[in-house]
Symmetry: C2
């Protein structure tokens, strides 16, 4: 259709597809979708987070969900954009219970990728803008309860005389973002955080830590960072922002509180959760339970032959915070991903002698480079073009995971060419580089295993200059009282060993709190099933168990970096709201359990 | 020019006027301005806040300032709007030292009102968006000072080993907004607040207080309220927001600190200020001193014949916070403006018997009515049309004070017709109503005297229902041990008298801290010189002494409601920044002193 405007093509396509869909999903898909097609749905049809790949999968999903979803009111919104032979059209539609949005990419008049997501539950739209609360009864009232009196009463009651509908374990960025969404959806929610203050999950990390992702990527929902906020947020500033956010969003947030155990009786429809609140045992009975304990589970145990004989200190990176006591000391850092690099720099800055032990190759990207070519959607340039965080998130989510590697491969070919000298010098210093199994770089490693990469904010210069020594390609054979012996026999003196060896999957946290049986039934979290190292198949097409129904009823996982926490908190909150409000939520492709 | 587009008319006018101006101000004004014309300037030409009324005043101003301002680069921005025979055009221009903006209203091809204001100092633009700080040096650095270390060091040094360029007395909304502006302009500033916590100036007020102005009018600079914020903010929520704001904006803010005295030696160029910081005496030497102690000065002293014999409690409204101890008591409220109504309602809600003594008529507007017809520029409807807070503030500021009454008169004619029944019933209850000397209503009273009005959020119903009794048109003759005796001889039993009798002018605060001589030299703050009751002439055309140079070098007043604090804090900050940076700031029409 060379002479037809993209908007006309998109409107035509949407009108004809939606009409055909009402008659027969099979016919609609066969006529209006390419054979090589994808449909990613966030709750709208599936009440799940699921990508259907290929016509058969799309047809099966539609045949199973169409009657209950009953989509109507399909309308193209805004002006479609064109990239080569692809037209990208944004649209809105409604299901029986929700207002939804979508993004369709068309090629040759047929759909290549389809994305659909709930935006609002019709019965429970968030109150904002024109529907914001009034905040006052315009009337003298002898029974007036003021805002602060209501708040105090509510805080005293919640978790004692009044049970929260939802308990969120973990009050870092994930729990906080989710808590804010649930608050705006009027779901009584209690967030429990083991640290003393909101934001401590950032404050307690190593001294020099500054966010590796830029500000445009890191906004929380509802209150964006102001325009003067630095590109890279220092950890303590982030901690203060989270603490402020908890207060301003009026979250019910218990500090110094640890979740001891949780037990679900399906027949009763609620969890019995035992909390340790500053030494006091408190039992709460939420209907929904969310693990927001971090993108990962507990720290991996440090297990090294001879470690009991080692005279110095051995600690996991999660417990490393201040390098000053290592001044003049010989320190061995095990690992060569983000934490290992940051800890090594922190130690070097504190005046320690640092050796990094790199067991396997690492994907490294210079921060400046990533900023220039990798964060196009989340940047000041994008903002100036009218991009909003919401749009950027939807755009990112609209691309099925199966298609992300191809784009990333192109990006990393560009990055490698651009920083050829940097990579050559880094390799020459003995550092083992890779760009992932299929040369797709950092983002795919993040999705597949959440490990094995570093955004260079300073460590690489130290490595290339020999200020941080790297021993690579082999592991530690055993520890002696005064150091480590490598597999090749070299002995490295060490006063301290910092094990930057990562974390178990989040489902290990479930094993500790609920039960091993439940954890194993749920299975691991994160990873796409790509069949690459650390991410065994089968192919999932989505991140395992994240933000969607798990094999355990009323148990959810929420986590990820700030951007993922921001976006997916919305969908976790919508799923929980729908359940506590009694909305029918038939899950398509639910995990068996 | 019936067939010429408004944009063309505006562009033509601006091009020809600015060209003519460069040759001769007199010729330019005579050719391009109406005889009945106004030019309001915020710093751009005058380094003052000044309105020139009529051609002669405009010519005189331009002849005095043109050489140093040297304006260039006049460009119409956006699409001019048309209202009847008036074209409103927004434009930008530059002076030698600043980037500026303006609004011109043209009638019949000539300028009726001109507004010019500095937007940014060229040498010191605020760092935001694309120029925001990076927040990290991308490099390992053994001398690294982290964000929190820098902050701690800075806090320890400021006011002790390092002198602030600016000291702001008063850490309410005014001091906080100004402190934020100065922070973004890199002016080391110390804010001192007598309360224990930021926000206490709101928290400590009476229990039921909720802001009378709606959220769209109340935003602070840099961090707007989120979209779900209630229309009317409860006082404690406002307090918490201010406390958060101080922290997030990283203001240097000393709580529990009172300013004892301040002394300026012109030759030295700095103030010697004695502070009481939680009982400790601290001397600081700022170059600039700002009084941001409220829209008003100290509370007016309560002076009533026989008050020493009164057995009950007498307190000024500023000290009234909780009505609960007045349950079942007879309370007399003196005054009938905002505080008096709010206190009366608070007392009635607490179960007191309340009599309000209205000495003179009050302007009353129903809150709902004001929201619907009075806040058009600051409303969700405006936001939906693309109005921003910045635009709304500029639009409001662009109208010279001399022209505001005419518009307000029209508005209040509308309001009085609309709420005829309400006003009739209120009058019938014995309450004395007025709409100001010239029937222009609440806003003009606010500008002229800052007193004598009430936005009804509940008290009027109580008055009309006889639940709050009103004695009006006469004052108190004297107090007895058990009550008050009115001028007509009626005795009213009273266990407590709450005097809602207002405040002295801000310059009384100066008398207490600097000297009576300095205060008298400066003269009163606020008021336009309208010649109406409480606002004696001569006509000023601007609010006296507010936000602009005073008769005392390096002494400034900042205050007003949230909207005025937000907007004018920018201009106070720019004036202070220019002075500490050594920019030449010749003040046109400076007060003699």
């Amino acid at each position: 259709m060379p002479n037809t405007a993209p908007s006309e093509i998109a409107e035509n396509w949407l009108a004809r597809f939606s009409a055909a869909l009402a008659e027969s999903p099979r016919k609609a898909v066969e006529e209006f979708f390419l054979e090589d097609c994808y449909w990613r749905d966030l709750l709208a049809f599936t009440w799940n987070i699921k990508t259907m790949e290929g016509r058969d999968a799309v047809i099966a999903m539609l045949e199973a969900t169409l009657a209950s979803a009953s989509p109507t009111e399909w309308h193209v919104s805004g002006e479609p954009s064109v990239d080569g032979d692809t037209i990208e059209a944004w649209f809105t539609f409604e299901t029986g219970v929700a207002r939804c949005e979508g993004v369709a990419r068309l090629r040759g008049g047929r759909c290549w990728t389809m994305f659909t997501a709930i935006r609002d539950l019709k019965a429970f739209p968030e109150k904002k803008g024109a529907t914001r609360p009034l905040g006052i009864r315009h009337k003298a009232d002898p029974d007036r309860e003021t805002w602060s009196e209501t708040k105090r009463r509510w805080q005293a009651e919640l978790g004692t005389s009044r049970q929260p509908d939802c308990l969120v374990i973990g009050g870092g960025q994930g729990g906080i973002a989710l808590g804010a969404r649930l608050k705006q959806l009027d779901v009584p929610t209690l967030i429990v955080e083991q640290n003393e203050r909101a934001g401590d999950s950032w404050r307690r990390r190593y001294r020099s830590l500054v966010l590796h992702d830029p500000v445009w990527y890191d906004h929380l929902p509802y209150i964006p960072f102001p325009d003067h906020w630095p590109v890279f947020t220092p950890k303590d500033k982030m901690g203060d922002w989270l603490e402020m956010y908890v207060k301003v969003m009026e979250l019910d947030y218990w500090t110094s509180t640890r979740c001891v155990s949780a037990f679900y009786e399906a027949g009763k429809g609620f969890w019995t959760v035992e909390l340790d609140r500053g030494g006091e045992r408190v039992e709460v009975k939420p209907r929904q339970l969310v693990f927001a304990t971090g993108a990962y589970g507990p720290p991996r145990a440090v297990e090294l032959p001879g470690m009991e004989s080692f005279a110095g200190e051995i600690l996991h990176s999660s417990r490393y915070s201040d390098g000053s006591r290592f001044r003049g000391k010989d320190c061995v850092v095990i690992g060569a991903a983000s934490s290992a690099h940051d800890v090594a720099v922190d130690l070097w800055e504190a005046g320690a002698n640092v050796t990094m032990i790199q067991r396997s190759p690492t994907t490294v990207v210079r921060s400046d480079t990533l900023m220039e070519v990798g964060f196009e959607t989340y940047s000041e340039r994008a903002v100036e073009r009218g991009m909003t965080v919401d749009k950027a998130d939807t755009l990112t989510a609209s691309m099925p995971f199966a298609l992300v590697p191809a784009g990333q491969k192109v990006l990393y070919d560009l990055i490698r060419a651009r920083d050829r000298d940097f990579y050559r010098r880094l390799s020459e210093s003995g550092f083992l580089l890779d760009f992932g199994h299929d040369e797709t770089g950092l983002l795919m490693k993040a999705y597949r295993t959440g490990s094995g990469y570093y955004i260079d904010v300073g460590a690489c210069d130290l490595i290339m200059d020999g200020k941080i020594r790297v021993r690579s390609g082999q592991g530690i054979s055993f520890l002696t009282p005064t150091g480590v012996v490598m597999e090749d026999g070299e002995e490295i003196r060490a006063d301290a060993v910092i094990a930057c060896i990562g974390y178990y999957s989040m489902h290990e946290t479930v094993a500790g709190i609920v039960s091993r049986e439940t954890a194993d039934r749920i299975g691991p979290c994160w990873g796409l099933g790509s069949g690459t190292r650390g991410d065994p198949g089968p192919w999932q097409g989505e991140l395992r168990n994240m933000w969607k129904p798990t094999a355990q009823e009323a148990l959810w996982f929420h986590g990820g970096n700030l951007a993922l926490s921001r976006y997916y908190s919305k969908f976790v909150a919508l799923q929980i709201k729908a359940r506590v409000a009694g909305i029918n939520t038939p899950v398509y492709g639910a995990p068996s359990g």
